[in-house]
């Protein structure tokens, strides 16, 4: 007999976890889902964000979330540079996305190894007043180290969503995914818009990284575990749809949490694939529609 309270516990923990996964997947939803740039290295950038946060936290005593936000301009710049390079070397040459995939895989690998060389292969963690405390929700004890990332992630996704819906640039970003030639006929350069959007997507990695290191200690190779999850969330969510991606992330989080609690935590990384493969094979338009 399964204890209902244990199930509720696992579900609430799963929702929190899923909210965080959405923060990682957000950058991929923009880069891959909207701009069609298969940025495999995004999870590695997230880990880089976690390490940068760790530096600011341990040296200056900054709150990790504040540190993550402060780092966004740096990551924005990094994203613009990466996109420009990708554009010049692959997109403009009309090279298939496949060469580009290998490029991003290389970046993923380089970032990971560079982090090992700079910071070592040890686990790092941050200090903040809310890490270690917890609060009661629906009669379930939720640790704040899960709750804070969940809330920050939702706020970040909602803000970007509003930005895309309400501003001129946001609409241009949506349009660039739909018809680049038409956008040029409006006098808007697609490359500039894409560089900006890719920069924003990469900037989310510093915040997602801060959230990651709040949740658990981080070492350079953990990024790989998130590739499957983040891409599964984006594909399941219907490529580029924010709410679809969030919904899929939470489903993923709940499933992982249930499996970890009821069965064995070491299976958790495989679950994303369990979702991804059938979706790709049988329902490639994702669980939900496409509208942002």
């Amino acid at each position: 007999m399964v204890d209902p309270l244990a199930v509720l516990n696992a579900v609430v923990a799963g929702v929190m976890l899923g909210g965080f996964y959405a923060a990682v997947a957000l950058g991929i939803a923009i880069a891959f889902g909207m701009l069609d740039v298969p940025n495999l290295s995004h999870p590695a950038f997230v880990v880089a964000g976690a390490f940068a946060t760790w530096q600011l936290n341990s040296r200056l005593g900054l709150d990790p979330v504040v540190a993550g936000v402060l780092l966004t301009p740096v990551f924005y710049g990094l994203g613009v540079v990466v996109y420009r390079l990708y554009h010049v070397c692959f997109e403009r040459r009309g090279e298939t996305a496949l060469q580009g995939l290998a490029f991003f895989f290389g970046l993923l690998f380089i970032t990971e190894v560079a982090l090992v060389m700079i910071a070592g292969a040890d686990y790092r963690s941050v200090v903040a007043p809310y890490i270690g405390s917890s609060r009661e929700i629906l009669g379930v004890t939720v640790p704040n180290r899960m709750l804070v990332p969940f809330v920050v992630s939702i706020v970040m996704i909602a803000t970007l969503h509003q930005f895309l819906l309400r501003t001129f640039t946001g609409r241009a970003i949506q349009a660039v995914a739909q018809d680049q030639t038409a956008l040029r006929l409006m006098g808007i350069g697609p490359t500039r818009i894409k560089a900006f959007a890719f920069g924003v997507a990469t900037a989310t990695a510093s915040i997602a990284g801060a959230l990651l290191i709040i949740i658990e200690p981080v070492e350079p190779s953990v990024g790989r575990d998130f590739i499957g999850r983040a891409f599964a969330a984006v594909v399941l969510g219907g490529m580029g749809s924010f709410w679809g991606m969030l919904f899929a992330s939470i489903i993923l989080g709940i499933t992982e949490s249930l499996v970890s609690d009821m069965w064995n935590p070491s299976w958790a990384p495989a679950i994303a694939f369990g979702f991804l493969l059938p979706t790709l094979a049988f329902r490639s338009s994702g669980l939900l529609g496409r509208r942002l």
Binding site: R171, Q178, D179, T181, L185, G187, G189
Partner: protein, 242 residues
Amino acid sequence: MSSLAITGLSAAYGKVRVISGLSMEVRSGETVALLGTNGNGKSTVMRCIMGLLTPVAGSIVATIDGTSHELAGRTTEEIVSLGIALVPEGRRLFPRLTVEENLTLGAARRLARKVLPRNMEFCYEAFPRLKERRGQLAGSMSGGEQQMLALGRALMTEPRILLIDEPSVGLAPLLVKRTIEKIKELKDERQLTVLMAEQNFHQALTIADRGYVIVHGEIVFAGNSADELNDNELIQRFYMGL
């Protein structure tokens, strides 16, 4: 005072030559029809003017409000910001954006952004249907409504010269007539210079001042008036089925 002069234009896709040594002009305030059936290079001429395709040879000079600009070699974005707009073949709306969002994106250039509210109002007055459907996704509209939106969106860029590629394609005969009449109306109200590519000779000639007939990428006949084109024996035989 805006006009367009094309001299000796040649264009190719890869090694396939599509246009060779084409010359034509659109004088200020005129509506000129570029007539021809599918695959004769009408769209390619449009693409060259807009900088979507770089010509192999030749020059395209646009005179906007008295200043001349060579267009060959410029980017599409630059050409649009000079005041030239294209309603592309197949309309190419942003299907997953709403009608209003599509229109807003038309007003990207600084000049157009300043007059955005006025132009939006103008579009809604010219096409009341668009106002009714302002919150609807562009992709979910009928062909006629989409053509209206495409025209409206091009007008939002505040053009002096308007290029229209195959406005009649995919529309029911009654709608074709109405669309063509609408183009004439818009042209008069906005004092535009219009170049329209069409394969529907009948309809195009109801509003065109002059016309060129293009076959295999070359101008085979230049009619100085709609009547001259209507009376041309070749056209009657091959294109109008008379």
